[in-house]
Amino acid sequence: MLNFLTTFYANILLGQIPMADAFRSDGKIYVVLAIMLILLIGLFYYLFRLDRKIKDLENRK
């Protein structure tokens, strides 16, 4: 346990934690982001449409 913790913090100090830096510099992260945004905005479009439909039904009553 102690050995694990020591290497754990040592790694952080040495800055040797692998991250997706290459992915970012390739610009591929923007592809991921664009896809996620398409999904998110599509979802919100659906929610707003549903909201309006229900409002119309309520007003008609």
Partner: protein
């Protein structure tokens, strides 16, 4: 709750916040942590599901108590639909957590105390809906499930906040692990995390209002 049924501004706010969360969540710098690496960004999606669940369940229990005092079916409807969306958020939190755990803890289910406790909490709320389905009379169903709701909510406190902190746990902030605070006291995680909690919670309440309005229109109390 009636305020949420009458107004719209907070829906636009939730949309703006979540677009910001998606962009910032992926592009802002994050602490370089072993084991987690880039998946720490999942923080802004997995954890707000649980926060949202708690807020929704809180709304649900408030209306359960309100129903017991005013006996109006509309209040019971609010209570039920808030519990339904809360349970959905809980399931989403569970599934995203298991997926995240597969890659970081090595397996989807580690019998981590918080995993077990949140599974139990969800089962208790599943039983709430089974209970509702089993009672035919409207008023009796509403009264019975309102009381059950209060006990279910009360169970959340020890299950989710006390038990996991008492023993060894894999979750940050529990069982001797440092909370995420020690990783990011001056970092950028909070810049995205707080808006994420607000944004996802608002979406949860929005879905609840839609379900409520729909069932008020169709007079079907279990829309």
């Amino acid at each position: 709750m009636n305020y949420l049924l009458r107004t719209n501004w907070w829906k636009w706010l939730s949309a703006i916040l979540l677009v910001y969360v998606f962009i910032g969540g992926l592009l802002f710098p994050v602490p370089r942590l072993p084991i987690l690496n880039e998946t720490v960004r999942v923080l802004h999606f997995h954890v707000p599901m649980w926060f949202g669940m708690i807020f929704l369940y809180t709304g649900s229990v408030i209306h359960a108590i309100k129903y017991l005092s005013n006996g109006q079916m509309k209040t019971d409807l609010f209570s039920t639909q808030l519990a339904a969306v809360g349970t959905f958020f809980g399931i989403m939190g569970m599934v995203t957590g298991m997926f995240w755990a597969t890659f970081t803890w090595g397996e989807p289910w580690s019998s981590d105390p918080k995993q077990n406790a949140s599974a139990i909490a969800l089962l208790i709320y599943f039983a709430y809906f089974v209970l509702r389905g089993s009672v035919k009379d409207e008023q009796q169903r509403a009264r019975l499930s309102a009381v059950y709701n209060i006990f279910a909510f009360a169970a959340l406190i020890p299950l989710l906040f006390i038990l996991p902190r008492l023993t060894d746990s894999l979750h940050p902030g529990n069982g001797g692990n440092p909370g995420f605070n020690t990783y990011d006291l001056d970092s950028n995680l909070r810049l995205v995390f707080y808006p994420a909690v607000i944004g996802w919670t608002l979406v949860g309440f929005w879905i609840a209002t839609l379900k409520i309005r729909l069932s008020l229109l169709t007079d079907d109390l279990d829309a």
